[in-house]
């Protein structure tokens, strides 16, 4: 290993690129489509409960060959009733 910072080794690029490509191949969702889906999900949820859209995390995860869409949506306390 060198003393100077070097470009990322190509095996790591291959790994990272494949991780993304495979998720999207398997789900038949492009990254752009996934973004649209996330935004629509957030909008629907925000209509029913008070959330901070910036704190929402919605990601495709995989376990073995199974993909799942995992959402972590922190809820705000209902301080005031309207």
């Amino acid at each position: 290993m060198g003393f100077f910072r070097r470009d990322k080794k190509s095996a790591q690029s291959a790994r990272e690129r494949l991780q993304l490509v495979l998720i999207h191949d398997r789900t038949d969702l492009t990254p752009a489509e996934l973004d649209v889906l996330k935004n629509e999900l957030i909008a629907v949820i925000a209509r029913h409960i008070h959330i901070d859209p910036d704190a929402v995390r919605i990601e495709l995860e995989h376990e073995g060959r199974e993909q799942r869409l995992v959402a972590d949506i922190p809820l705000r306390n209902a301080e005031k009733r309207r």
């Binding site: 080794k9 190509s10 095996a11 790591q12 291959a14 790994r15 690129r17 494949l18 991780q19 490509v21 495979l22 191949d25 398997r26 995989h62 073995g64 060959r65």
Partner: protein, 262 residues
């Protein structure tokens, strides 16, 4: 006794399917099992030359399917191993000459007399792939540690799952340990993590594979080659043995000098 039918497929072309079928067929036959391999690559016949049997062909798979000969007449016996047979592909026809149900019928006729039927699938995911996997009890995916080959392998695994062929086994071919060590090639672990199927073999990049194909004598018969042991071990795994993976990591100059003794 009834044969197990195994189809070797990959999605991407040129990754080593034919090499794998030839070597596993010989390796299984060396253990005494009765083996027949079928060249499913109609129009691009290759398995015959890799096995060194090209001069013996009279009838082929399409002749069988179209009723011009009996199955037995299209089976070529290996020169040395009397328990190894090849059913060659037709060279002047195309993939439309065979259907999935034709392959199922041919394999059903072979099953009672053999322990193994190995099918060499053509590249791609079209008709040739479809008929090649139709009779399979199990599929083996061959890939190279390379982005496009792994991606295509993943697609084929998805198709096999959709066909309810169960989870296929994986052979990673042409791994260059020195490149992996320099972090310039995906490692076997990387590929297994990505594809998430059972690994049954890691075949190194080896000049002897080409030399073997020049001679028409599969590398598994080359006693000095590590790759010969690699294929023998894959055959043992297919037979249900739990065989540890060979450490390909110490292939420096020193061990290369002594590779004949390993």
């Amino acid at each position: 006794m009834s044969a197990k039918v195994i189809t070797v497929t990959s999605g991407k072309g040129g990754v080593g399917k034919t090499t794998t079928v030839a070597n596993l067929a010989v390796a299984l036959a060396l253990t005494g099992d009765r083996v027949v391999c079928i060249d499913g690559d109609i129009g691009l016949r290759n398995l015959d030359v890799i096995l060194g049997l090209e001069n013996r062909i009279v009838y082929d798979l399409v002749d069988v399917v179209e009723g011009r000969c009996r199955l037995r007449q299209a089976m070529i016996r290996d020169k040395k191993l009397s328990n190894l047979f090849l059913i060659p592909a037709a060279q002047t026809r195309d993939k439309n000459a065979v259907s999935p149900s034709d392959m199922v019928r041919v394999c059903d006729e072979l099953r009672p007399d053999f322990d193994w039927v190995l099918i060499d699938s053509p590249a791609g995911i079209e008709r040739g792939f479809r008929y090649a996997i139709a009779p399979a009890d199990q599929a083996i995916i061959v890939t190279n540690p390379e982005v496009s080959a792994v991606r295509d392998a993943d697609r084929v695994i998805g198709l096999l799952e959709a066909e309810e062929k169960g989870s296929p086994s994986l052979i990673i071919n042409r791994l260059d340990v020195n490149m992996v060590r320099r972090n310039e090639m995906l490692s076997a672990e990387d590929v297994v993590d990505l594809l998430a199927i059972r690994l049954i073999g890691i075949v190194p990049e080896d000049d002897r594979v080409l030399i073997a194909s020049n001679r028409g004598r599969p590398v598994v018969l080359d006693e000095a080659a590590v790759t010969a042991r690699v294929f023998q071990n894959i055959a043992r795994r297919l037979k249900g043995e739990d065989v540890p993976f060979i450490d390909l990591g110490n292939r420096g100059l020193w061990s290369r000098l002594f590779s004949g003794r390993r």
